[in-house]
Assembly symmetry: C2
Homo-oligomer: 174 residues x 2
């Protein structure tokens, strides 16, 4: 299984080395508010229901958007550990992640302009089971944290451009 | 329905105004790699399956982590539009979001150190249906983009602290 994943990853790397333009990809999301704070997002043929918990005015039909951010970070760490352990030939029996994010809702609710609406800090534990020695695992950790896409997205600024369109009038683009 | 959401949001704001310490909350995620790149994340009693598409070495049992980031941003925009429209008394019949993110996989795969592993840019369209005039909708857009938690998390740096633990030996904390 891991040997075949190693072959697949090796082939992907070889393809991108020979044709760097193939490595430029686009990911897409389409979502709509259904009722109250309940939204549904479509990612290719996958869908995810998102809502706020009852204490925040929702009907709790799914995790909320800031919880999705933590799920994205935890699973991205896991996938990146698996990918780099496979490519570097480091044994990795299991990997799991626990995260917590501090958020002050005064920011979201415009009650205090000095408080950001997003997470003030995210902390977590990555737990792995491996036969490798400490120096090897430290090398793995460094490779993962330097290349984990979601860790980069959250830790560093990403330029975001959003255009608002009024669907009936279609002249509000900006 | 919207009137009752307005009451709920008003009560939440009033509570946090009187007791700002109640506005400091923690969100949590626990996730584990199951097989290959397939992971499952738990957010309170909700769970989300995450995987990579087959072209990236996965078995496509869910959206991938960077797609979750787009889903989080789209649904957070929708919820924030709904919340601010409700509180400000601006009519809002529907809101939906389409996003695309540019990612160069040479970054993730360590093929080019000058290329970041995360999104280089995210672009999108927010489509709303509303009877409000342009100036009112512009005011709404400004309020939303100043207070949308996930837009802040993605656009600006969030400090992330991750500790690696080897579950058998328990002495790899850092």
């Amino acid at each position: 299984m891991s040997e075949s994943l190693k072959t697949v990853l090796g082939n992907i790397q070889q393809n991108f080395k020979s044709n760097p333009e193939n490595a430029s990809v686009k990911f897409e999301s389409k979502s709509s508010l259904i009722e109250g704070f309940h939204s549904r997002a479509f990612l290719r043929h996958h869908s995810i229901d998102v809502d706020e918990p009852k204490e925040l005015g929702g009907t709790d039909q799914g995790a909320n958007p800031v919880e999705l951010i933590l799920a994205a970070l935890g699973t991205c760490q896991e996938i990146t550990y698996k990918a780099y352990a496979t490519v570097l030939g480091i044994p990795l029996e299991s990997v799991s992640v626990e995260l917590e994010g501090d958020l002050d809702l005064q920011g979201f609710l415009a009650l205090n302009d000095d408080i950001r609406p997003g997470y003030q800090q995210i902390r977590g534990k990555v737990r792995i089971k491996s036969e490798a020695d400490d120096a090897t695992l430290e090398k793995l950790r460094e490779a993962v944290n330097a290349h984990c896409p979601v860790l980069d997205i959250i830790s560093n600024p990403v330029p975001v451009e959003l255009e608002l369109t009024e669907v009936n009038r279609c002249h509000l683009a900006r």
